[in-house]
Each structure stands twice: as structure tokens, then as C-alpha cells.
């Protein structure tokens, strides 16, 4: 571990996980994750994957639009629980 002082960009505030969407897809790739983050922008809070339960949960700060949910549904199988 370096013990030198380091500067970081700390410009993302806390994002409250308010709404969630689920999918049975638990093998989302790095590219998938980047696509989802890019699509949702500041609505994105986090994405949990539970391989043993075969479920992934996408947490967002506010409800997705119909268009956003449609894209996530078609590409990754997300739906509103």
C-alpha cells in the first residue's frame, strides 16, 4: 500500500437505491454493466448479482421510463417485480 497522499476525483454523491428491477440473467459482462450505467446515467445506483439464486437486482434512484425499461428488458431481461 502506498502511504503517499493521493488525489482522487470524488464527484459522485450518495445515490439512494429507491426502486429495483430484476432479471434471471446473472452473467452480465463488464460491457453489459457499462452499457447499463451509460443508459441510466445518474439514475443508476447499483447492480447486485446473486449467481446461486439466479437473480440480479438493478437498483435505481428514480423510476425508469417506459423506454429505458424496454431497452433493459430486451437486452438483459429486466422487469419490474
Amino acid at each position: 500500500m502506498s502511504v503517499e497522499e493521493k488525489e482522487y476525483e470524488i464527484n459522485i454523491p450518495h445515490r439512494e437505491a429507491v426502486f429495483c428491477y430484476v432479471t434471471e440473467n446473472t452473467s452480465l459482462s463488464r460491457e453489459d454493466l457499462d452499457n447499463i450505467k451509460r443508459l441510466l446515467g445518474e439514475k443508476y445506483a447499483m447492480l447486485e448479482q446473486f449467481p446461486l439464486l439466479k437473480v440480479s437486482i438493478l437498483w435505481v434512484t428514480e423510476k425508469l421510463t417506459e423506454d429505458e425499461l424496454k431497452q433493459l428488458s430486451e437486452k438483459y431481461g429486466f422487469y419490474e417485480p
Partner: protein
């Protein structure tokens, strides 16, 4: 280049040594992690793409490669391990099965894992802390205001029920912040500016030991209790970090400044938070502080022996008599090492 990794079993009755299950590999290992436990069962060794877990007898119980970059890995005493990679945290069991994965909105700063809970500190402002329950992978979340923009460590207790994070920099006061899964338990000012670099916890997480580093020194070493009581263990006239070794009970502490030769010994009365001087040990060469403040000084859990790598040797030194009981010759200049105690059978 080829490297040989050699676990050594040392008998403290006659100080004989035995190489157990050595292996050869093409890549040097970057880091070693040991569970924060009374009787650690495993060592985790990792590079940017591979994890190896050894049991305390030197047996390799897992070797696994990953298709992402490992920034940090930690292990608990069940062998469950947590990996930080950019904005994503992964939790695996000892067999290498992925149990849980979470991709956050921002980069992760630090992680740690206890028997019941894992801790994730995000690199945002205020700092997001996620505490993951390992029984069902539910989580709690809260935020902590930290001063400065530094790479603060977060460390949890053996169970993971409690953790600490540090705050401060060269122009802001240093704090030790005790946390439970429900939020901040106690924020304790150390009364000096500085950015703490070394952080050790007693296994139950009640007392933290740390060293706020100022731009012009000296380094002060503190013991801090979760009710706010604190004691200064000593002060070293160096401008870098200190390495701190602590017994399981927290009653024996040894520390040394970066690139120094004097190990300071202290006894701590936990109930009264009173410190007494237990003398010094002088090493023939400066400590290998370049490796890491976490690993350049160590102690057996019972506090009977101090382990110090310096020069071409790793020395095991008797706490009571300052006698060097064992010298292990190092084959390379800076050697990563960690100590596990094995019960006699």
C-alpha cells in the same frame, strides 16, 4: 522469471524449520492478506489476476485466475474472500464459487470481510459505507463525512460486526471512526493533524491502533477505544508511517518507524487505557518498510514473539528477553510474508 513460494513451518520448541509444499510460478505475488482472527486459518496471496489461498499447514487450498483486475483482496477465517475491482465487489467461498457481486455507481475505495459481514467503502463524498450480511447478502448503507482525499483504510473485526475507518490529512485533524452495520458508533479525534496509514484492530473491534502522519513528522502512535478513550503509545521522529504489531488481547504493542532500526515495546491496560514502557529492540538493519506498513512488523497472537524483516533476514524475537530466537535468510530484497500460528497436535 521464475519465483519459488516457500511456506515454512517453524517449531518454536526447538526452532527447527521445514519447507512445506513449495511451488514455482512465473509471476511474483503482489500482496498477502490474513484474516483478522484470534487463530488465523488461512493466508490469501494475490496478484492483479490471481488468488491463492493457503491453509495454516502450507497446503494450497485454492488457486484461481480472474478475467478482471484485482485491486484488493481480503479473506475471513472461514476462507470466504472479497475482491475489489474498480466499481465492482465480488464475494467468493473458499472453493472459488462466486456468491455475490455488486457494481456500484462509483469506484470502490477499500473492502474488508469478517465472518458475518463484509465492508465496502466507496470513493465518493460523503463516503458511502455498505455492510453486506454474508448469510443472506442483504445490506445496510450509511455515509461518513471524511476530511481530505486520501486512501483511507477500512478494517473490520473478526466477525465483521464492527469496523473502523480513518480520516484526516496534513491540514485537518485525524479521526478514528468506529462503525457498526447500523452506522457510526463513535468518531474520535486524535487531537493532531495527519493521515493515518496503518490501522490494526483487536479481533472484537473495540480498540484501534493507528498512526496519523504529518508532512513534517513526528509520527504518533495511538490506541483508541470505541467509547472515545484514547492513549498515545509513543512518538517517532520520522516523516513516514509507522508499522504496528498488536497481540490478540491488545495488551502488547510493538511499533517502528519507516526505515528505522528501533522497535518500541509498550504494554496497554485496556480498561484504564494506561500505557507503560516495555523497552526497545535494536535491529542490525532498517526495517523493510517499503513492503507495507501492514506487514513490515508482526507479532504472534499471544504476544510472545515479534517478527521483523530487515536486511537479509526475517527475525523472530522474544518479547520478554529481546533474544533473537530464529533468523530466516531472505532470498530476495523485499519479501512479502505473514505469520500463521499452528497449534501443536
Amino acid at each position: 522469471m521464475s519465483y519459488t513460494v516457500t511456506p515454512k513451518l517453524i517449531n518454536i520448541e526447538d526452532w527447527s524449520e521445514q519447507d512445506v509444499n513449495p511451488w514455482t510460478q512465473d509471476t511474483a505475488k503482489d500482496k498477502i492478506a490474513r484474516p483478522n482472527a484470534v487463530n488465523p486459518e488461512y493466508l490469501l496471496i494475490y496478484t492483479s489476476s490471481e488468488v491463492i489461498i493457503l491453509d495454516k499447514y502450507g497446503n494450497k487450498v485454492l488457486q484461481k485466475t480472474f478475467d478482471y483486475t484485482i485491486n484488493e483482496a481480503r479473506i475471513n477465517n472461514n476462507g470466504d474472500f472479497i475482491i475489489r475491482s474498480g466499481d465492482t465487489v465480488y464475494i467468493y467461498d473458499i472453493n472459488g464459487n462466486l456468491l455475490y457481486q455488486n457494481t456500484y455507481a462509483t469506484t470502490i475505495n477499500k473492502v474488508d470481510i469478517g465472518l458475518n459481514y463484509a465492508w465496502v467503502s466507496l470513493l465518493n463524498d460523503p463516503r458511502d459505507i455498505y455492510v453486506i450480511n454474508l448469510s443472506d447478502f442483504s445490506y445496510t448503507n450509511f455515509t461518513v463525512d471524511l476530511t481530505g482525499n486520501f486512501n483511507y483504510p477500512v478494517r473490520c473485526s473478526e466477525t465483521g460486526e464492527r469496523a473502523v475507518i480513518t480520516s484526516g490529512d496534513t491540514s485537518n485533524p485525524a479521526y478514528v471512526i468506529f462503525m457498526t452495520k447500523d452506522g457510526i458508533e463513535k468518531s474520535v479525534s486524535l487531537g493532531v493533524n495527519g493521515y493515518p496509514t496503518t490501522l490494526k484492530l483487536r479481533p472484537d473491534g473495540v480498540i484501534a491502533f493507528t498512526d496519523p502522519v504529518q508532512s513534517n513528522g513526528p509520527v504518533r502512535v495511538f490506541a483508541v477505544r470505541n467509547d472515545g478513550a484514547k492513549a498515545q503509545l509513543g512518538s517517532i521522529s520520522v516523516y513516514k508511517h509507522a508499522a504496528i504489531a498488536v497481540s490478540v488481547n491488545g495488551d502488547k504493542i510493538a511499533f517502528i518507524g519507516a526505515n528505522q532500526t528501533t522497535i518500541y515495546k509498550r504494554l496497554l491496560d485496556i480498561d484504564m487505557m494506561e500505557v507503560s514502557d516495555a523497552g526497545t529492540i535494536t535491529l542490525p538493519e532498517a526495517i523493510d518498510s517499503v513492503v507495507s506498513p501492514d506487514t513490515c512488523l508482526d507479532m504472534t497472537p499471544d504476544g510472545k514473539y515479534i517478527i521483523a524483516p530487515s536486511g537479509s533476514k526475517i527475525r523472530i524475537i522474544d518479547w520478554g528477553t529481546n533474544t533473537v530466537k530464529k533468523e530466516i535468510t531472505k532470498s530476495i530484497t523485499y519479501k512479502y510474508y505473514a505469520v500463521l500460528t499452528v497449534e501443536a497436535t
